[in-house]
Amino acid sequence: MSSYLELKNINKSFETEKEKKIVLADINLKIRENEFLTILGPSGCGKSTLLKIIAGFSKTDGGKLLKKGKAIKEAGMDRLMLFQDFEQLFPWQKVINNVEFAVKQAAKNKKLKLSSVQIKERALKYLKQVKLRDYQNYYPHQLSGGMKQRVALARTLAAEAEIMLMDEPFGSVDSQTRQELQQLLVQLWQEENRTIIFVTHDIREAVFLSQRIVVMKNEPGQIINIVENKLPYLRKRSSRNFNHLFEELQSQLHS
């Protein structure tokens, strides 16, 4: 197995006033190209921290992060992060401009020249996918929580990055929209060859989406299991195998 992204012995701790808090301990993980990987684990086990390390935002205490064998030192548009926060949109830009921002930066990064019409078109395409086309002229503070999350999703998609790091992107999205977005994501991933690392709390979501599921535990954050999910796409939530895997994971997590 050629390792596309490789995390070797990653350790991470934070200094607090009273103690040195170990957040991630000895994380080892190999991620294949075009893989859809989800990370499941209890609140506070270090999932966001791990994504931020892969994105190149945080320094580690030790260990290596390799992409195609080369060490990654800083953030880049190849690994685009969708944050867990609601407030990741630029409040000073309208929804459409927030998405256009990603289109422009992506084009610049690929040395592509796009006209402003093309930029707007692409941005609108993604806004439509998250069902917010009608809200293009809203400012972020005029949106609901779930809508903000979807705009952020649209922005991330619009960047058309090689690797997408998604931190609970559907946390505040209603179940129907959520299922649609999950399908959209799978479709996109199948069509366009991307690698996706997806953090979620929703075990069903993990089972529906990913090829492998990384299960983490808390205090300190460690990988306790990596589960292969060989169910064929598109997966049926009501199928026996689906629910079987769900239960297996649930019992692992609740142990």
């Binding site: 931020k52 994105a55 190149g56 935002f57 800083e74 953030a75 880049g76 548009m77 690994r79 685009l80 992060m81 944050f83 926060d85 407030e87 990741q88 630029f90 409040p91 000073w92 830009q93 921002f101 990603a102 930066q105 990064n109 400012y139 972020p140 503070h141 005029q142 960047a159």
Partner: protein, 254 residues
């Protein structure tokens, strides 16, 4: 918006009324506390004979230039300090050095090094404006939520893009409040500088106008000058700053 002007108007009238009442009451000698009628006459005369207009124009042009230069410099300072911690050390030290120094204490040096012309006045204005503005800008830059910085890194914004796409809009409330302070400070600096540096071939600004009135013991004239400053201040506040805020910060729901 409308109600703001109404309020302004109301309070303006009220204050004027109180002033006039005090003047008429005779508590203070007329020499010390002239009535608004006297002040308006002087103001009108000065406006009519054209010199005051020229002096206002002169002062405004110096202020515009000084503010522009100081804003650019403050931006440069705050930005360099933001991006480089070595530079931050230097700029920090410079600010701590220069900020508390009153222009008047530097007068001898400015006179000696820059003379007493437009250049000297500009220096005084810049010295007055630069430090508080760059302080406010720096605070603004450093108060930006981390997440925007991370996003900027992620999308590989270069420093310049980062500056105008993220830093400045995200710290705009600080910028605007800094600019307001800068604007007021530049007026203050200008008036004092003009008073102290005087005029060349009789072409001075509003400060010199006030100084001359004072020398000639024309208190209504002094107040006429002060009223002009106040008027200009209010116009700038209401039309420029209020617009700026409505078009930005307020609209963004911050």
């Amino acid at each position: 918006m409308k109600s703001k002007y109404k309020q302004r108007f109301f309070w303006g009238i009220l204050l004027a009324f109180i002033w006039q009442l005090t003047a008429v009451s005779g508590i203070f000698s007329e020499l010390i506390f002239p009535g608004l009628d006297q002040i308006s006459i002087v103001l009108f005369k000065s406006l009519q004979d054209g010199t005051l207009i020229k002096q206002i124009a002169f002062s405004l042009s110096v202020i515009a230039q000084g503010l522009f230069l100081a804003t650019i410099m403050a931006l440069l300072f705050a930005l360099t300090a933001y991006f480089s911690s070595t530079a931050a050390g230097l700029i920090d030290t410079l600010t701590a050095l220069a900020h508390p120094l009153p222009g008047i204490a530097l007068m001898p040096l400015i006179l000696i090094w820059f003379g007493s012309g437009r250049m000297a006045i500009l220096i005084v204005i810049i010295h007055s404006v630069l430090w508080p503005l760059s302080l406010n800008l720096s605070t603004g830059f450093n108060s930006i939520p981390d997440i925007y910085t991370l996003i900027a890194k992620n999308y590989r914004l270069n420093k310049f893009e980062f500056m105008y796409k993220i830093l400045i809009p995200a710290s705009l409330p600080y910028f605007i409040s800094g600019l307001k302070i800068a604007w007021a400070r530049s007026w203050r600096a200008l008036i004092s500088a003009e008073m102290l540096f005087g005029a060349i071939n009789s072409l001075g600004g509003l400060g010199w106008y006030i100084f001359q009135r004072r020398v000639f013991f024309d208190l209504p004239g002094v107040f006429a000058g002060i009223i002009v400053i106040i008027m200009i201040g209010i116009v700038v506040e209401d039309f420029i700053f209020a617009k700026l805020e409505n078009k930005t910060v307020k609209k963004w729901g911050a």
